[in-house]
Amino acid sequence: MSHWDVLLQQVINGVSLGAMYALLALGFTMVYGIIELINFAHFNVFMVGSFIAMWTLEAMGFAGQSHVLYGLPLIGILLAAFAVTMLGSGILGVAIERLALRPLRGVPGTAPMITTIGMSYILYNIVLLGAGADSKNYTNPMPKTAWEFGGVTLRLREVLLWTVALLLMLALNYFVRRTKMGKAMQAMAQDQEAARMVGIDVDRVVIITFFLGSALAGAAGLIFGLYYNYTSYLIGYTAGLRAFTAAVLGGIGNIPGAMLGGIMIGLIESLGGQYIAVRWTDIIIFSLLVLVLVFRPTGLLGRAAPTKS
């Protein structure tokens, strides 16, 4: 393998990880964008999403990684798994908002954020109690088809995951830019009181935002399982923190920023692992977070933070 092959291989891996982080980062950034809340429950909505997806695949009669599908059946099963997972995770996100966060709306200070940490722990412990502490061998109907280009391997599953992530991001982009509810989200992010004054139902926008963000986190959870072939009650923290870093890096509250930040974190993880050392990955990522916060607090694509009175 030449240097270039190694580099290209790591770029492929990085983009795969990055697509997953980007989907996860979108939920942080969307919720922050409209209600300026950092939602730490999001970490474990992602984790629960990966379980929902695994159970869905099992319910459809799959187990382990030996039952492989090709062509249209594969696409059909993947679509169904993503749909159920995203619906389930979305509903979980909405439930968290209704039960734990809505009563605290308008409470100043850190109480709502602390509540999200509490919710995160509750989800973590529920899954730990319900599913056990062992890593689960993930149900994965994707074939191991791969193509070799020189020394570089491109796996079919990566291409599929990229496609799913790209379609989801395009759909989100369309929703936010073109639909009336998306415009209402933008309006709320820019000026909440003015949004109310033009007749936007703020509670409804918040619910839809939690639903979409959580649904994307669920999709990321499924991608995690399909990519690594395992899941566990623990996966929320590492991936969640990296995705959160991605959101801050891109500019929290900024949707294209979350996508960019996600891909960058994915690339840093894979290239850092290759050229420096895997053990250093988190040190590099969080040093970057600190540097961004110090030198460019609004992130790469962020605007000056809105100062609210």
Partner: protein, 253 residues
């Protein structure tokens, strides 16, 4: 000089579209509106005068339901609306031009106008109202693709008024429409307010620029630390000594 011409008002004013009866509004412990009574009759321009921090914007927010009164009644078109959410009030025809404009800064002018029609689905009628706004503000039409945050203060005020009109309101609530505008521009804005009123929209206007406000209003209230201390026809307020000293900058010789 006696404070108002209360005796002649009931017969002269049109039936109320909006009415406050003994309204008390609080922010937490802070008692801001203290037993406010006021009304806007059908087709009237009514102004609310008052110095800084006396509760003018709070009155506006109480009309819109951004804050809810602790006691008293807010009635609109004959119905009590105290508990009605803001979105429902906008649907029923109350639209605001908020203090400091409050446009959506990173949306274009056109998008801002469209947000004003958020509660409506009658696409064809919305287009008609858009044209009506362009007719009132030809300058807006030249800047439809510009980001609202990059407009001049005067242009922003036009878009803010246009955005409110896109709700096709029966009652337009304006919080200091002259704030931060040059005198020539203020005059233009007040001409437009009159034009909107002639087209059938009732107007409730908060102003510190008492001179201009009283020149187009038919009735006015003076608010001091959350209480209505004076009310009467615009003419009677202009002639009132206290108003002249406090708000018209005219000293008695």
């Amino acid at each position: 000089m006696p404070i108002s011409d209360e005796r002649q008002t009931p017969s002269q004013r049109p039936p109320p579209l909006l009415e406050f009866k003994d309204v008390n509004t609080y922010y937490g412990e802070l008692h801001v509106l203290k037993g406010v009574d006021c009304s806007v009759g059908e087709g009237e321009i009514v102004c609310l005068l008052g110095g800084n921090a006396c509760g003018k914007s709070t009155t506006m927010k109480t009309i819109l339901g951004i804050v809810k009164p602790k006691s008293g009644e807010v009635a609109y078109a004959g119905a009590r609306i105290n508990e009605l959410p803001t979105a429902e009030r906008v649907k029923r025809g109350i639209a605001p031009v908020p203090e400091a404009r409050r446009l959506f800064p990173r949306m274009t002018v056109l998008e801002n106008l469209e947000m004003g029609a958020f509660t409506r689905d009658d696409t064809a009628e919305i287009e008609i109202d858009k044209e009506r706004v362009f007719a009132l503000f030809p300058r807006i039409k030249e800047r439809l693709k510009q980001q609202a945050g990059t407009l001049s203060g005067g242009e922003q005020q036009m878009v803010a008024i246009g955005r409110a009109l896109m709700a096709r309101p029966k009652l337009l609530c304006m919080d200091e429409p002259s704030m931060g505008l040059s005198p020539a521009f203020v005059e233009q804005v007040f001409d437009i307010i009159q034009a909107i009123n002639r087209q059938g929209t009732s107007i409730f206007m908060v102003e510190q620029n008492a001179n201009m406000a009283l020149s187009i209003a038919s009735f006015g209230y003076v608010l001091q630390t959350g209480q209505v201390v004076l009310h009467g026809s615009a003419q009677s307020l202009r002639d009132n000594e206290m108003v002249q000293q406090a708000y018209l900058g005219r000293m008695k010789a």
